[in-house]
Amino acid sequence: MFPAPFTYVRPRSLDEALHFLADHAEDTKVLAGGQSLIPLLKLRLVFPRFVLDIGRLEELHGIHEHGAAIEIGSLLRHVEIERSELLRRAAPLLAETAAEIGDVQVRNRGTIGGSLVHADAAGDFPAAALALDAQMVIRGKAGERVVAAQDFFVDLMTTALQPDEILTAVRLSDMRARFGPRTGTAYVKLRQQASGFAIAGAVALIALDASKKITHARVAITGVNGIPYRATGVEAKLLGEVAGDSLITSASQHAADGIDPLSDIHASAEYRRGMAAVVTRRALSKAIQLATKS
């Protein structure tokens, strides 16, 4: 369980990091919180020549609010997101999701950027990013580009990020500014008992108008497919309807429509399909409850 030998590099600035990457992109792995990369190194599933530790770059820390726009530095740790007053108010879904990740040790070290770039099939943040329409701010030697979450997750553990690029921040909007005052969100997952990873997890975002009609419905599912996806079948059933228990139950049945669920040692495909519906129903009813109350 020793990683293959590598050279450890710690840049002093983002520019220095990008310079290094420009020359060594193919043999370098970026290290943030290490909660996914270190196990991969130890299992020798990756054996880079260089490990570029961006963990102390100040530029990638912090949360900034400009009006309704929020920018979260990619190095923000899960625990910081969980506890951020700003996020609890403006994007409670993110704080709630962070609290569901792994265990205390993982949350103390893991970062949102690492979680998004790692793009685990059962990662929690990717689903939240999809539902919230998060924008990924990416820097490379050519400068900055912004990619929508929708286009960021390409395949199992594969994103639109190029090897010479760094994810610097995640942008999103204040939830109520974007979707209206009666918006509620929820994240519900069934945990794999050893790691805490989702066997099935559902993010729900529901906005209502004054007559309880659903004006926005976002449902994103993780753990079921190779990459997180929007359950468009569920969303279509909800949109424009008046929120209620039987609507939620029938809409949830479409949580895994068109999906060929994963089957592995933790759960069969059939079980995951069933659980996608269960967590979707639970997340929707929680989100609607919160939307109604606000």
Partner: protein
């Protein structure tokens, strides 16, 4: 058939040998601190991996990445040249096969002809650092000629020509056995009902937190010392001498403080032998500490077992005959397998009256990590089947499952159909305790849908009646040394794997000498220094080493009395040892300190030392294989489990468990409770979570063999446990004690399954009971199908012809009538 109760020689009875009432005990039966706890809690205890010797080298093993192949070539040249490497070892240097059981010598230290599983060791490297050894191992190249691999019981039976071991009995059937005690068909004919159920119990592993670690030291005077995290230094000692081909008298094994065993450190392991050989090659100490991944390859955990249980019963539920067929998936090697296989059948008679019993068992080899003795060794699987089946019968006959069990219990001091000697049995009281505690009568049947209560019972051996290799010597020995300092040193081969066996010896000696347990020095598990004890397995240590210690201590006490009595001018029988003093019972002021008493004895008799030993009684059965199953006594347990079953997710949570244990007198009730609760933890975790899963046809264990993939309960998942200790003394045990370490695991899996049935009306006849399976059963039931998940059939197994044995009752019948009963040919 009734037999005589034990003789009560170990201070159990209410009176002493001279007819006076026994004095109050000052140590036994009281909550005591373990003698090694303070060091452990403060991190001072040195486990094997903490030990460092001058010039020590570090070893790593090269392991197979394919499940079944012939080895075409092994190229170690690059590894040998790697900086820091001092030796590279391959299997050609160690051709002698080994295995803990004389009948299963099928392991090699390093494979050189064939690999039989992913993880089989092929080469070993010793280098000046662990990192260098690790790098060098990666440079080893092995060419394989792949063979088809066997991944399951069915595949093993279907493919006898792809033979994993040429020494197997028949194809891939490693061992098989068949017994018939009494005429089982006649029993079925007598029954009002006959039913057959199929069960499956998946394999799981021990998960001791300490990874196996060993240090081999070959000295200039041609002596070998091995420090190792082992449960069984004695068998390891024999194996080292055999495989390394050196005189056993020159080999010393020291079992280091152990960070958990649970059966996972019972076998002699290839890495233990490899570091010795590497030390012999280099003349330097060599250490290896396995990674967690490698511990998954060592395994020796629970056998996956497929079972068919056919039972005949009357309208009142009484059993007329039982036919139990099992097939165990043994993985790649023998190990304890022949015994494990027998244990899937021999103890089925020890709880409930069963006049006729037929058992057919087989163990197959597969290309997976080898199975072996995990806590309960071979018995939790059939216990699961048997207790679930009884629940089904109770449902069928409309009986209360608790009352029903009480109506079936075997008699104390009787013989079972397969000639096992039952001593004391407190099971009826155990059932009453958990029924009472759980509110069974009021609550069961009145709970909302999704909540349930289930009951199950168990029995377990307190020590095996036979050693693993045939011999007529003691199973445990104790030496006691006393000297003028007042120090008492107890020497014994027992291995404390955290269960507290060293403390147990201190408590017993302290009780007898009237001193404090912390006054005693226990020296254990060192084959050069301590008398042989067979090891920490089979729940044998407290009873066997405890009895040996009682004997040695009583002998030493007698010597002291002989010196003290004339000095005090008091008759010997009035001399009492208590409160660190030796004095006249009738005039406590007339006496001296314990140390002064020892000085008197040492002055009079010279250097003081005594020995004690223990050998279990001869077993009553006379048929071949009758030595597996008998024990000096059995422990008994009953448990009620409360479940909360979510009908949408199939997730089962367990808020509360009641368990009552008949473990005889507790030497230290705190430790007994710890064993009971630890067993509940382990049993519950394997019921709901744990399984050794192998991927696809490559037979790779888990996705990555690690704690991330292997699900196990943590303290977060633990329910409230309400534990009752019966404390009824067992005449065969030291101060009345029986076992506590394994039996309490056994009722948990079936009690959970029975509780789930009570909660949602479905049967999962398979362990582990995962949410997936529960939900499938619930959905099947909702569709009007059978609400059950479990095996649908039992394969054709070519069992041998049964050994037909008359039951003890048949024998009585012969004596009474002069007529041979049907089927009694022996």
């Amino acid at each position: 058939m009734a037999i005589n109760p034990g003789t009560g020689s170990n201070g159990v009875s209410g009176t002493t040998s001279n007819g006076k009432p026994a004095r109050k005990r000052s140590v036994i039966g009281k909550a005591q601190t373990k003698i090694d706890t303070r060091d452990k809690v403060r991190g001072i205890t040195k486990y094997t991996d903490d030990m460092v010797f001058p010039r020590m080298l570090y070893a790593k093993l090269f392991r197979s990445t394919v499940p079944h192949a012939r080895i075409k070539s092994i190229d170690i040249s690059a590894a040998e040249k790697y900086p820091g490497v001092k030796a590279v070892l391959t299997g050609h240097a160690l051709p002698v096969a080994f295995g803990i059981m004389p009948v299963a010598q099928d392991e090699h230290v390093l494979a050189y002809e064939k690999v039989r599983m992913v993880g089989d060791a092929i080469a070993a490297v010793a280098a000046t650092s662990e990192e260098a050894a690790d790098e060098a191992v990666q440079l080893i190249k092995v060419e394989y000629e792949l063979l088809p691999s066997i991944g399951s019981i069915q595949e093993a039976l279907d493919n006898p020509d792809t033979q994993i071991h040429s020494t197997s009995e028949n194809g891939n059937i490693h061992r098989s056995i068949a017994y018939e005690f009494g005429d089982v068909e006649a029993g079925f004919a007598e029954a009002d009902h006959v039913r057959e159920d199929f069960f499956f119990y998946e394999g799981n592993t021990h998960l001791a937190l300490e990874e196996h670690s060993s240090i081999g030291i070959w000295s200039a005077d041609q002596k070998l010392t091995l420090h190792s995290s082992t449960q069984n230094p004695h068998y390891l000692h024999r194996t080292l001498a055999k495989v390394l081909e050196i005189d056993q008298a020159r080999v010393r094994v020291i079992a280091a403080p152990c960070g958990g065993g649970f059966g996972g450190k019972c076998d002699p392991f290839n890495h233990e032998i490899a570091v010795c050989k590497l030390s012999m090659m280099t003349g330097r100490p060599v250490k290896i500490t396995l990674t967690r991944e490698e511990v998954f390859y060592c395994h020796r955990g629970r056998h996956p077992v497929l079972m068919s249980m056919k039972i005949g019963y009357k309208n009142d539920g009484s059993i007329t005959a039982f036919h139990n067929r099992t097939v165990a998936d043994g993985g790649a090697y023998g190990g304890h397998g022949p015994a494990s296989m027998l244990y899937t059948g021999v103890l089925q008679t020890t709880t409930y009256k069963m006049p006729r019993y037929k058992f057919q068992g087989a163990r197959v080899n597969t290309n997976k990590a080898p199975c072996g003795p995990k806590r309960g060794h071979g018995t939790p699987q059939p216990r699961f089947g048997q207790e679930v089946q009884l629940d089904k019968i109770a449902t069928h006959l409309g009986l209360d499952p608790a009352e029903y069990r009480k109506s079936l219990l075997v008699e104390p001091h009787s013989l079972t159909a397969n000639w096992l000697p039952i001593a004391t049995i407190g099971l009826k009281k155990c059932i009453d305790k958990v029924v009472e505690g759980s509110g069974w009568k009021q609550r069961r049947g009145n709970l909302p849908h999704g909540k349930g209560l289930g009951i199950a019972c168990s029995a377990y051996m307190t020590g095996a009646g036979t050693a693993i290799y045939w011999n007529a010597m003691p199973h445990s020995g104790v030496q006691i040394k006393l000297d003028r300092s007042g120090c008492v040193a107890v020497f014994c081969g027992v291995t404390d794997i955290g269960q507290g066996s060293n403390s147990m010896l201190a408590y017993i000696a302290a009780e007898i000498f009237g001193i404090d347990p912390f006054d005693i020095r226990v020296v254990s598990s060192d084959t050069d220094i301590t008398p042989v004890d067979l090891g920490s397995y089979s729940s044998r240590v407290t009873l066997m080493a405890g009895n040996a210690c009682v004997q040695a201590a009583e002998r030493a006490k007698a010597i002291i009395v002989e010196a003290v009595a004339p000095k005090l001018e008091v008759p010997a029988e009035r001399i009492v040892f208590e409160g660190r003093r030796v004095f006249d019972e009738e005039d406590p002021n007339k006496g001296m300190t314990f140390a002064e008493a020892v000085i008197l004895a040492e002055t009079q008799f010279g250097t003081l030392g005594t020995t004690g030993s223990y050998k279990p009684p001869k077993w009553p059965g006379k048929y071949r294989g009758a030595g597996v199953g008998p024990a000096p006594t059995y422990s008994y347990c009953a448990s009620v489990v409360e479940t909360d079953v979510n009908p949408h997710t199939g997730i089962v949570s367990v808020p509360r468990i009641w368990i009552a244990h008949d473990g005889g007198t507790s030497i230290n009730p705190t430790l007994v409770m710890g064993q009971v609760e630890g067993s509940v933890y382990m049993g519950l975790s394997e019921t709901l979570f744990e399984e050794m899963t192998y991927r696809g046809n490559r037979n790779v264990v888990h996705k990555f063999p690690s704690f991330l993939e292997y699900k196990s309960h943590t303290s977060n998942d633990m329910p409230d446990i309400i534990t009752y200790l019966l404390e009824d003394p067992e005449p065969n045990g030291p101060f009345g004690a029986k076992e506590a370490g394994q039996g309490p695991l056994l009722p948990i899996p079936p009690a959970v399954a029975n509780s789930i049935f009570n909660a949602v009306g479905v049967r999962v006849d398979e362990i582990p009971i995962t949410p997936d399976k529960v939900l499938r059963a619930i959905r099947a039931k909702a569709k009007g199908q059978e609400g059950r998940v479990g095996p649908m059939r039992f394969p054709e197994v070519p069992y041998p012809d049964p050994i037909v044995v008359a039951t003890p009752d048949d024998r009585d019948h012969v004596v009474a009538t002069g007529k041979e009963p049907v089927g009694a040919t022996k």
